[in-house]
């Protein structure tokens, strides 16, 4: 299973923004392979959450661990059958371990997003 995690500039800790995080970590829980990719939505004028969700879908992820997630992105992830987990603690590795041990909760609250002033 591929797990996606939004990463901050340091490439180790979780970025609080899902849509505009600078990087994504994609971790394969079977093979242990991990790769870090730039988030193509980081500088998007609008619809960043949607574009970031697209990136996660395209990577073939089945799970996302994140601090928060907007409603639009949640709709995309749900349509793609990706489970969204609420992160605990700051580091990506500790969250991957927590997910493996079944200690992370499935996210139930999605914020209305920051779409206000459109470009």
């Amino acid at each position: 299973m591929i797990v996606a995690i939004p990463l901050d500039e340091d490439r180790r800790s979780l970025c609080p923004s899902f849509g505009r995080c600078p990087y994504f970590l994609f971790a394969n829980s079977e093979t242990g392979e991990e790769r870090i990719e730039e988030n193509p939505a980081a500088q998007a004028q609008g619809g960043a959450g949607l574009k970031a969700a697209q990136c996660v879908v395209d990577a073939g992820a089945e799970a996302l661990v994140t601090v928060r997630c907007g409603e639009n992105a949640a709709k995309v992830l749900q349509a793609a059958g990706i489970t969204v987990y609420r992160s605990e603690g700051a580091g990506a590795e500790e969250n991957l371990a927590a997910l493996r041990q079944g200690r992370l909760e499935v996210m139930t609250h999605f914020h209305p997003g920051f779409v206000g002033g459109q470009p």
Binding site: G47, Q54, N72, V76, A80, G116, G117, Q118
Partner: protein, 279 residues
């Protein structure tokens, strides 16, 4: 002449100035583009109001024809489309109805449906034709309703059209000043008022529009505003004092220029200054 009345912030006196300009001209078209909270109609109380719906296009995808090539999703610069399980999915509030997805689809699988985003009200008060755009509550983008209101009002080609713009300096404001010959800014003599005024002034200059200022609710000249106007060559065309009577009329929905000939004369002078190339 098409005059857009703007202010960086809300409550600066745009509607007061816009309504009184139209009254001073006697015959005019007034377009309320502040579609999130249109209040010009509270002053005009127009007669014979006709209402119609404003719609915007939204793409739909024919699953029979769609090959899942993803051209539409990759094309959408607003990120309103996503590609999940080999099919596009549209997010209506993010879509700008540009029609690009239908153009790039090689399979002719993209059609358009229409959804209602607001209403347009048109009526008259004497020789002033009043057009009011009303955005449906919950809609994210005001632009389609502003566009419809402008189209309805400008098609009458009246000698004077006054556009009551939305507050701020974002997309809705840009849309509302696009056709204007002159941008009349209404500013409050306060730090906050000046800050927002400077932002919208920047926008108008960027669009190459001649500008002039109405200072509203003035008790005494506010030095930072005076300095700004001198430095940035923004002519002050009218100063409106801070008066209880004006607030009272405003609260009652009374138009100052109809109540008091001196106010009408002030706004008539303002009109001449704008027409006379006060740049």
């Amino acid at each position: 002449m098409i005059v857009a009345v703007l202010s960086g912030k809300g409550g600066a006196g745009k509607t007061f100035a816009a309504v009184n300009l139209a009254v001073a001209a006697e015959k005019a078209v007034y377009i309320d583009c502040d579609v999130e909270e249109p209040n010009g109609r509270l002053f005009w109380r127009p007669q014979g109001v006709r209402e119609r719906a404003v719609t915007t296009a939204l793409p739909f995808f024919d699953p029979e024809k769609c090959t899942g090539c993803r051209a539409c999703v990759d094309f959408c610069r607003f990120n309103a489309l996503v590609y999940v399980k080999k099919a596009p999915m549209v997010f209506p509030e993010v879509c700008h109805a540009c029609g690009g997805c239908a153009l790039v689809c090689p399979a002719g699988a993209v059609g358009e449906q229409y959804r209602e985003v607001g209403t347009l009200e048109e009526g008259d008060r004497g020789a002033v034709h009043v057009v009011t755009g009303v955005l449906r509550t919950g809609e994210v983008s005001a632009v389609p309703v502003i566009r419809a209101a402008l189209e309805a009002g400008l098609s009458r080609r009246e000698a004077l059209t006054v556009i009551d713009s939305p507050p701020g300096s974002g997309c809705p404001v840009m849309e509302s000043v696009r056709e204007a010959d002159f941008c009349l800014l209404v500013g409050e003599p306060t730090a906050f008022g000046l800050h927002n005024l400077a932002m919208v002034h920047d926008l108008c200059r960027l669009l190459g529009k001649p500008c002039g200022l109405v200072v509203n609710r003035e008790t005494a000249p506010y030095a930072p505003l005076e300095d700004y106007c001198a430095r940035e060559h923004l002519p002050i065309l009218l100063r409106i004092p801070y008066r209880l009577q004006l607030a009272r009329w405003g609260a009652e929905g009374v138009i100052a220029g109809e109540k008091d000939p001196e106010w009408k004369a002030d706004f008539a002078r303002l009109l001449r200054q704008m027409g006379g190339g006060a740049i």
